[in-house]
């Protein structure tokens, strides 16, 4: 018996630990980085681990804790081990300093995480000077003591954007402002107040980045008001593009897994089964992005719900797709196979715009499975949707649609 977990971040390690706890033999976690632990290794701020480890930790502390737990549980974690693709017969091709290997598993769990879209993927015009970064890169540069810049514009106003502000401020970079195309920031109410009071930093809403200028280094950024059309030039030497997450789905696509058009992660049912028998997915490869502890709980869920059952019963079933209609952006899980309860007993719902007191309808072929009001939907943040309706799904009927009114 062999279970291969690809990715040694919170989701992958939590999955492996849960499998271990259930006495599943032959677990191996493959991580391409030099150290396991995933993205939290670079996030200095506190607040990690509340939901899964029941204690407040810093990002690096949280990552270390998971690596320790894995070691204590004698889970095999192989670092500098990059899975690059699938062999024709379903094995995983892996490159490590030890050479090239082909690994075969009875089950594979993809926990490859997500990344922020860089400037190029957002098609921001202008010159291509140095100083254009993402939060992920800023955090790692700061951690290594690399020079970042002196004056930074932060693009985006989600939780992670404020995290970027903290990292920049700590590294001695003055944040000259924050811009978002949305009408207001998407973080906690307090975050905006702290940012404007503590860092005296303007937040430009309904504002797009029109151009980046500078010869070798960023010199200025041109912002454009989406409603006014007014241009504003911001003098800075650093631009940090934050959030706008995209699952790192390369391995999923190469493995022929179906992607959900909303999340761009592999389509998964409530037991985190993908469209390919024996392959599961957990954590932020499912959707960009949830907090680390939510990702970890998804990993734990994949082990407890999907993988364990699969190893015993070897039965996959047929998925009924669950899709969102605009302005809803995505729902996860986005398929239903059976009555397995989703991770943390909820579906996660995202909207592309702010919605107050929306009524949500879940329908299958004209039949309403669930209807109810949510308090609020905020872009970039998930809202929980109950799961009890899945018992009413007709597995032989058509796809399920979720809409907001």
């Amino acid at each position: 018996m062999r279970v291969i977990v690809v990715g040694g971040g919170p989701a992958g390690l939590a999955c492996a630990l849960e499998l271990r706890r259930r006495a599943v033999p032959g677990i191996v976690v493959l991580d391409r980085e030099e150290q396991a632990g995933g993205i939290p290794r670079h996030c200095r701020h506190r607040g990690f681990g509340l939901r899964d480890l029941r204690r407040p930790l810093s990002g690096p502390g949280y990552a270390r804790r998971y690596v320790e737990l894995a070691r204590e549980a004698c889970v095999e974690v192989r670092t500098a081990s990059a899975v690059t693709g699938w062999s024709a017969d379903g094995g995983l091709e892996m490159t490590s300093p030890a050479g090239r290997e082909l690994l075969r598993g009875d089950a594979v769990v993809l926990a490859t995480g997500c990344r922020e879209r860089p400037r190029s993927a957002r098609l921001v015009p202008g010159s291509r000077p140095e100083g254009v970064l993402t939060t992920g890169l800023v955090q790692q540069l700061a951690q290594r003591g690399a020079p970042i810049g002196t004056r930074a514009l932060v693009v985006g106003a989600e939780h992670v954007s404020f995290s970027a502000v903290l990292t920049l401020a700590h590294a001695g970079v003055r944040v000259v402002g924050m811009s978002t195309e949305l009408p207001r920031h998407q973080s906690l109410p307090l975050a905006g107040a702290v940012a404007s009071l503590r860092y005296r930093m303007p937040l430009w809403t309904r504002t797009a980045v029109a151009a980046i200028r500078g010869r070798t280094r960023v010199e200025e950024v041109e912002l454009r008001g989406l409603e006014t059309g007014r241009l504003r030039t911001v003098a800075c030497d650093t631009v940090v593009f934050t959030a706008d997450w995209i699952p790192d789905h390369e391995l999923a696509v190469l493995g022929g897994l179906e992607l959900d058009s909303g999340t761009l992660g592999p389509r998964i049912d409530t037991a985190l089964r993908t469209s390919r028998p024996g392959v599961f997915a957990a954590g932020n490869v499912l959707q960009g992005a949830e907090p680390a502890d939510v990702a970890a709980l998804a990993g734990r869920h994949a082990a407890a719900s999907g993988v364990t059952t699969w190893l015993q019963e070897r039965d996959w079933g047929t998925q009924v797709h669950v899709s969102c209609l605009a302005p809803l952006a995505w729902i996860a899980p986005n398929a239903v196979t059976d009555t397995a309860v989703p991770p943390r007993g909820r579906f996660l719902l995202r909207s592309a715009m702010f919605l107050e007191r929306p009524r949500i309808d879940i329908r299958q072929e004209g039949r309403t499975l669930w209807s109810g009001r949510l308090r609020r939907l905020t872009p970039g943040r998930s809202t929980a949707l109950p799961h009890e309706w899945i018992t009413q799904v007709d597995p032989k009927s058509g796809p399920i649609y979720v809409s907001a009114h």
Binding site: T84, A98, R100, E116, L123, T134, Q143
Partner: protein, 450 residues
């Protein structure tokens, strides 16, 4: 005293060469390789920090057959010859190159009426393999193509080539053969002295019998330093969008547009790195360093991408880049010899393909018969057409492009090592992938500091 100190200065800095080549783009590097290999002592002077770091790095990276060149021009002849020479050279030294073939697609019935002329021109250029492709066959071969195609011409010998490895291979061979490479050295003045040239630079003053002007976008300025006024370079901006590798299976061929009087149109092509590119735009700009992309240009390319390959815009964009073509008011290359001065100006986007033929032509112009020996050089493979280093195992640093630590270390230890991050990118592909440094940027920065 004055002349005495001049003599002393010259003697001190060992500045006597047979040939000074200005510009280490793909053309200058090819000339340096050719002439060094022919036994001449050369110095290759480059204003920028690296070989092939200006226009040579930012083009469509196509290997042209020259089927659509203006018949009878030097460009037509040198592109045809260059195609043959570069194909052979690439296989010898390991430059990623593939003859994927092109399909020139007509999207309106009027465009189909241009086909006979295009075929005739190809034949006049000595290229007979061009052939018409019926609509049904076109969609059978490229099923992802957008609706509305009215027919196509197939040009089976059009190909793709690595724009980074090619000039680097030429320059590496030249330097190993004894050519002196002076980077960060801008030419500020040229004087004819006796039977040769004094070239003033931001570094030393150089002296040689022959002067080759391969200064690309600045070739008109160097030409004027010699008192000529024969052509003016108007930089023509070409924006290109690089799509994610996951889009690569969408097409097999280069998809060309039917050219009009003003433009060759937007093409979609695979790259040797396994991406798809869409572009270029064509816009005359004033400044020779204005490599900015524009909102209009990117919107136009996105719309064209969607029209030609409707599935393409659903994929992520990995990079946007902008090149400036060295366009002149003339329809042909400005390649002449006069009193020891060889001007290699106005080499447009065909320069990559033609580079070795241009170099050969320059050698013949200055009357040297000895040809370079076959190359004894193997370039590190950074393309997806042959096995990559990571397929033998290793410590992968850049995950998106699968660049190993070994490859990075070898680049630093190479004949012409990178001096900056861009140089390392072009030699290894590090940071060129979809995450643009999100994962490995800081680690690569650290490696750069060593």
């Amino acid at each position: 005293l004055g002349s005495g100190s001049d003599v002393a200065r010259r003697a001190l800095s060992h500045l006597n060469h047979d040939v000074i080549i200005v510009g280490a783009g793909v053309v200058g590097a090819a000339v340096a390789r050719e002439l060094t290999g022919s036994g001449l002592s050369c110095v290759l002077v480059e204003a920028g920090p690296d070989v092939g770091a200006a226009t040579s790095k930012a083009n469509t990276a196509l290997l042209h057959t020259g089927f659509d060149a203006k018949p009878g021009t030097l460009e037509a002849r040198l592109v045809r010859r260059g195609h043959q020479l570069l194909t052979e050279y690439a296989s010898q030294v390991g430059i990623p190159l593939a003859r994927v073939g092109a399909l020139l697609v007509a999207w309106t019935p009027e465009q189909v009426t241009a086909f006979p002329q295009i075929v005739e021109r190809a034949r006049a250029n000595g290229y007979g393999a061009i052939r018409p492709v019926e609509v049904a066959e076109l969609y059978a071969r490229e099923p992802q193509l957008g609706p509305g195609a009215c027919g196509a011409l197939e040009i089976p010998d059009e190909g793709i080539v690595c724009p980074f490895t090619t000039p680097l291979a030429f320059a590496t061979e030249a330097v190993r053969g004894g050519c002196e490479l002076r980077l960060d050295t801008r030419v500020t003045g040229v004087r004819r002295v006796g039977g040769g040239f004094h070239v003033e630079t931001t570094g030393d003053e150089l002296h040689a019998r022959f002067l080759v002007n391969a200064a690309g976008l600045h070739s008109d300025e160097v030409d004027r330093m010699l008192g000529r006024d024969r052509f003016t370079i108007t930089p023509r901006r070409g924006e290109l969008i690089v799509f994610d590798k996951l889009a690569r299976p969408l097409i097999d061929h280069i998809v060309l547009a039917v050219p009009t009087a003003t433009t060759k149109g937007v093409l979609v092509a695979p790259t040797v790195f396994g991406n798809l590119i869409v572009g270029p735009t064509a816009q005359d700009v004033e400044r020779k360093d204005d490599t900015s992309s524009t909102a209009d240009g990117l919107a136009y390319l996105t719309a064209e991408a969607e029209r030609i390959l409707p599935e393409l815009p659903r994929h992520e964009v990995t990079a946007v880049y902008v090149g400036l073509r060295a366009a002149t008011e003339h329809a042909d290359y400005q390649l002449t010899l006069g009193d020891g001065y060889v001007c290699v100006g106005g080499i447009r986007s065909t320069g990559l393909t033609a580079s070795l033929a241009i170099a050969e032509h320059v050698r013949e112009l200055i009357g040297v018969d000895t040809t370079p020996a076959p190359p004894e050089l193997t370039m590190p493979n950074i393309g997806e057409l042959a096995p990559r280093a990571y397929e033998q195992g290793g410590r992968i640093v850049c995950f998106c492009e699968r660049v190993t630590l070994g490859e990075i270390e070898r680049a630093f230890g190479s004949t012409i090592p990178p001096v900056d991050l861009d140089g390392l990118r072009r030699r290894t592909r590090v940071l060129m992938g979809r995450c643009q440094g999100f994962y490995c940027g800081a680690r690569v920065w650290e490696l750069m500091q060593r």
